[in-house]
């Protein structure tokens, strides 16, 4: 295994930067998820690391070696693809053996490695089958096995679970996670599913529009999103973002909503708001940090329930606030109905404040 360093990667397609100045350091044995919406440049970044796409500028180091001009086959990487990319006319055994044959390994060593990989992924009984005789999950396991036999420095995985049905995806998710723990493998994993990224990865690299937005552990990305994009992308349901106006009432900093209400700020949050480039401030709050009451409470903001979605162990209530939808979770025994007046209290310690103009998170210092 090896660490991977990406330095100022740029990939331009006809004047458009698909990957724009991305720099990352992936430590040895780390599981990093490149996550972002479609077209954010995550797959392009992975293809750059694999060498399947040529770099416009920047540097890629695998281990201590600069691999900018090295062929994919010599980069000591293995790749798992979204559509599995198994060779349809070859048996599972031949699929696993193929990368080793291409490296001209002796036959008995190939046999040993293939059987070892098959055993590890519990598919010894599938070795003589053709890919089309396998289920989606089994095919993905073969694809994983084909990467595994190579014993590569880095595993690259391009949305490997997105072709599986929901149940199988959850199962394969834990298998890949186990695979990573057992092998202590360096893995770069591309996904558009933030839940997959958060549950599996040691670190998230959140991308949007070809730019790396934030690179940190899932817990830190979740707790301290650097901007509004990350805040709204990571976490399910998404963080509610309410555009407000900063002002002062009786010398105290407040945020004013479009409906005319004001929200008094704690001293720390007031300092944050002072740093905003304009009076436009966006309040971010996760559903669990908002307290909903059905009667007026001091400091709570009046609103009206918009929709109510019971899910069993938790009920989600959506309310319109300053033109934005706010998501609140309540215990299932709290009786709320649509169009009913409700009061929302925001947790000052766990709320997020963003600059309305730059969309960056506001900091107190």
């Amino acid at each position: 295994m090896a660490h991977v360093v990406l330095k100022n990667l740029i990939k331009t397609y006809g004047g458009y930067n698909a990957v724009n100045d991305v720099s990352l350091t992936i430590n040895d044995g780390e599981f990093v998820a490149l996550v972002g919406p479609s077209g954010c440049g995550k797959t392009t970044t992975l293809n750059l690391v694999a060498g399947l796409t040529s770099l416009t500028s920047g540097e890629i180091l695998i281990g201590e070696r600069l691999v900018n001009d090295v062929d994919p086959k010599n980069r000591d990487i293995a790749m798992v693809f979204q559509n599995y990319a198994l060779y349809p006319q070859k048996t599972v055994y031949a699929n696993l053996a193929f990368p080793l044959q291409m490296r001209k390994l002796p036959r008995d060593e190939i046999d040993r490695k293939v059987k070892q990989a098959a055993q590890m992924l519990d598919m010894t009984h599938l070795l003589e089958r053709k890919p089309r005789e396998l289920s989606g999950g089994q095919q993905q396991r073969v694809a994983l096995g084909r990467a595994l036999v190579r014993d590569p420095a880095v595993f690259l995985m391009d949305e490997p679970l997105s072709n599986l049905d929901a149940k199988l995806r959850v199962q394969m998710r834990s298998e890949i996670k186990r695979f990573h723990q057992d092998l202590k493998a360096t893995i770069i994993y591309v996904t558009h599913d933030q839940l997959e990224a958060v549950t599996m990865a040691d670190k998230l690299a959140v991308m949007s529009g070809g730019n790396l937005q934030q690179y940190d552990s899932p817990a830190k990305v979740f707790a301290n999103p650097v901007n509004m994009f990350v805040a709204s992308f990571i976490g399910s349901p998404a963080m509610s973002l309410v555009p407000l106006t900063a002002s002062t009432v009786d010398g105290r900093a407040v945020l004013a909503g479009a409906e005319g209400w004001t929200l008094a700020l704690s001293p720390l949050n007031a300092r944050k708001v002072q740093r905003a480039t304009s009076s436009k401030v966006v309040l971010g709050a996760r559903h669990s940090t908002i307290k909903l009451t059905t009667s007026a409470v001091p400091g709570a903001i009046p609103a009206k329930a918009y929709t109510v979605e019971p899910t069993g162990d938790v009920t989600f209530v959506q309310a319109m606030l300053s033109g934005a939808i706010v998501n609140i979770s309540v215990p299932p025994d709290v009786a709320v109905e649509a169009d009913q007046p409700i009061w929302l209290a925001f947790d000052q310690d766990r709320m997020h404040l963003f600059d309305g103009a730059t969309e960056l998170a506001l900091k107190a210092d």
């Binding site: 086959k73 790749m79 693809f81 990319a85 060779y87």
Partner: protein
């Protein structure tokens, strides 16, 4: 191999008695296809029957077919006993196998070259299709001139470049006539293979090629392990169509040499045509056709069976 247990009972239930009963149950359906069946009987079944009948008769001296003379299997005996039949059959097989093989390989090569983008690709593709779209008769005459021993371009070039003292006899020599005609045939046919295979190449999954690249396969291994297996289905269809066309070739050979010199370039169809319409020996020609029909049908049977097997293997796209 896995054995599918459902196959055996399925075959066991298809007893002949059941077939007729089922046909009776579906009798209305046959009524709907009756017009098509009648047309088929008139344009296919009757000519086939008449050819078989004719193969047992000889042409009378009056050339009037109503006076034809019954000779039993004599015509078949004459054909199978003649050296010319075996020579023409050998010619036909050489012609078909070499033409089909070369057209396929050349077509595959061109399809692969045209598959990657380069400036002028569309123009190149259009140029390469020309041999296939121009009239076969015109092409045959053009090539006759190209090969001409006195005025031909190739002969003149070889002399000018010092490769030959005098222009070689391409189509007037027993040894070189068949290869020379095969060159023309391949030239005419390879664009067809190219178009078929180019279409097949479009369907090779890009992800599979990228996987092969990461797995360490170079250009050759990518082709051999990914692209070529993927083209299996379209290749089989292309080769079948080319082979059928080549077994039934007529125009190029007939126009360029008429089967000569000394039968060296005769293939089945030109030979039958000559026997029937050159020498008015209808019975022999008919018997010849029947033999040819049996050979091609049995080859076709095995080929189609092979095709079915290939599709089950999953190679077809």
């Amino acid at each position: 191999m896995t054995i599918r247990p459902t196959e055996v009972p399925a075959r066991a239930t298809a007893r002949p008695a059941g077939v007729f009963r089922r046909a009776w149950i579906h009798r209305a359906d046959y009524l709907y296809v009756l017009p098509a069946i009648v047309v088929m009987l008139i344009v296919i079944a009757y000519p086939v029957y008449y050819t078989i009948e004719l193969s047992f008769y000889n042409t009378p001296p009056s050339l009037q077919l109503r006076d034809k003379i019954f000779v039993g299997f004599d015509n078949y005996a004459i054909i199978l006993g003649s050296d010319v039949f075996w020579q023409v059959t050998l010619n036909t097989f050489i012609w078909t196998i070499v033409s089909t093989g070369c057209a396929y390989i050349l077509g595959l090569g061109c399809a692969l070259c045209l598959h990657r983008a380069f400036p002028g690709r569309a123009v190149m593709r259009a140029i390469l299709i020309i041999p296939w779209v121009i009239s076969a008769v015109a092409a045959a005459y053009i090539w006759k001139w190209i090969y001409h021993s006195n005025f031909g371009v190739i002969g003149a070039l070889l002399v000018e470049l010092g490769f030959a003292g005098r222009p070689p006899n391409f189509i007037d020599s027993v040894n070189s006539v068949l290869p020379s005609l095969i060159v023309v045939n391949v030239w005419r046919e390879f664009p067809f293979a190219m178009i078929m295979l180019a279409a097949g190449l479009q369907t090779v999954p890009d992800q599979l090629l990228r996987a092969a690249k990461v797995d360490g396969a170079g250009a050759w291994h990518s082709f051999w392990h990914v692209t070529f297996p993927h083209l299996r289905g379209v290749s089989i269809a292309t080769i079948l169509l080319l082979a059928v066309a080549n077994f039934n070739s007529f125009i190029v050979t007939w126009i360029m040499t008429g089967g000569g010199p000394a039968n060296a370039s005769h293939i089945w169809i030109t030979h039958i045509y000559e026997i029937a319409f050159g020498r008015q020996r209808w019975g022999i020609a008919a018997a010849y056709s029947v033999i040819l029909f049996l050979i091609v049908m049995s080859l076709g049977y095995f080929y189609v069976r092979g095709l079915g097997g290939a599709e089950k293997e999953g190679g077809a796209s």
